[in-house]
Amino acid sequence: MATTAPTYPEVTSAGTRGLAGWITTVDHKRIGLLYLFTALAFFILGGLLALLIRTELALPGGQLLTADQYARTFTLHGTTMIFLFVIPILTGLGNYLVPLQIGARDMAFPRLNALSYWLYLCGGLVLYSSYLLPLGPAEIGWTGYAPLTNPTYSPTPGVDLWAISLIILGAASTMGAVNFITTTLNMRAPGMTLWRLPLFTWSVLVMAFMVLLATPMLTGALAMQLADRNLGTQFFVEASGGDPILWQHLFWFYSHPAVYIMILPAMGVVSEVLPVFSRKPIFGYRAIVWSTVAIGVLGFATWAHHMFTTGLSPMLEAFFILSTMTIAVPTGVKMFNWIFTMIGGSLKLDSPLLFSIGFLSMFLIGGISGVFQAILPIDTQLHDTYWVVGHLHYVLFGGSVFGIFSGLYFWTPKMFGWKLGERLGKVHFWLMFLGFNLTFFPMHILGLLGMPRRYFDYPADRGWTQYNQISTLGAFMIALSILVFAVNFVVSARRKEAAGDDPWEANSLEWATTSPPPVYNFLRIPTVESLRPVRDARLKLEQESAGAD
């Protein structure tokens, strides 16, 4: 490591300052931050919609929303959280971190990277512009099943805007995936072999391949849906020889891999955080990499488990039961690796580790309830009940969102040069952890009691009311926890207490540069000689200092 003051290089093509600088930026770090802040804004919007849903369901009878308004609300809630929050915020983290972690100065295609972000923002605005239509937004759920999307049942052009917005978001994702793959494979620093890639970068690489393979299927299906609605085609109209079930196959061929697109980068975050806060190397690095690849491959062989009640052939049912159970194996391998990383470690229970432990425990519950649903007779009973809502939130909120917050607490010092407050971070974690379980665990019981999903009202005599009230209470606790996070961010940003370049004594290359990094990332491109280059350089420096003494 350099011990003398460095001479700073001449930088050609310096960035523009102010608002114009943000609008015209092609710097991966700024684009990453734009993704993060935009996705958090959509998270707040989607969360407000969730509060409307939970307030409506707190008591039997209409409270706040009509049936139509309720259907619009849950449609936009689901679409927002998946397509405008979870996937983009993980893309934002990837944007910020992948070039830094591999020792590159930027992404391979900086302008394409900016185009991805602007398309993402435009896609979100198109979706929400449907509130301006006289008939309002789509009322089709985030799955948009045929024949509900047929103009006979859904006359609002909100359905068209929903489909167009998803096509735009798909284009943004695809461009981002091309960029991640090219950057990771071609722009690594000298010595950064694939077997020295940080696990977060590995997870983003596999996620990008999944996006590249799966997204065209959804885009094609959406184009067919638009053609059915506007050009008189009959792809999904049974009476004319079309097949509504075809939509489900095409949709889930994208949307089941999308679950892994949303969870793999969060797993990558956890794989970075656990060794740093356990003061140990990650247990079974190569096993985690191979498990990530296995999940990426098997993720394409499980889509029809969402369709067990549509009348698949017994052979197909058997195949998808088996493939769904099989994908639990690499996930289980990772789970053991993470646990063994912590066992025997010197755990530092700061906010990043708390959220990672939250991920492990909640995602485990979501994974196990998923294995229940892989069993066809059980799935037949639970299909379209509140059990499924509970399960998917344990995977996508308990998994992805806890992983996202772990990453935000972990990398905030790198992005801004200051840490988020630890005390408020812990308050945020415990409020969210408790609120999350209060909200979503009772949904499993409601599902077992037979409460269907997507109904805006329910009879008072079914014994569902108290579980719904607990769930609503939990939802407001989650909202409070997000408020605490926002306050923490503002207070910490005002204090600006310098965190230093490597405040956690971490392992990977992003911690080798300043916090926040300069526009060129590294004064000199480092040469990598191990899996934990920053930790090794730190130890070498300490040994040299001890020797000099």
Binding site: A2, T7, P9, S13, R111, A114, C122, T527
Partner: protein, 60 residues
Amino acid sequence: MDNDTDLHPEEIHLPSPSIAPLIVALGMTFALVGLLSPSFLIAGLGILAVGIGIWAFTSE
């Protein structure tokens, strides 16, 4: 990690800022929404052409 072998850093060339990605994104969005309204389609294709022009004729 070895990054202290040369303390005389090279000149670093970074890509120039560009408005083209934003304009292309707006053009693509308007053109796609234009599937529902021809006026949006025409406006979108026009904006897209301008964006592609800026993209193509300004150096990185």
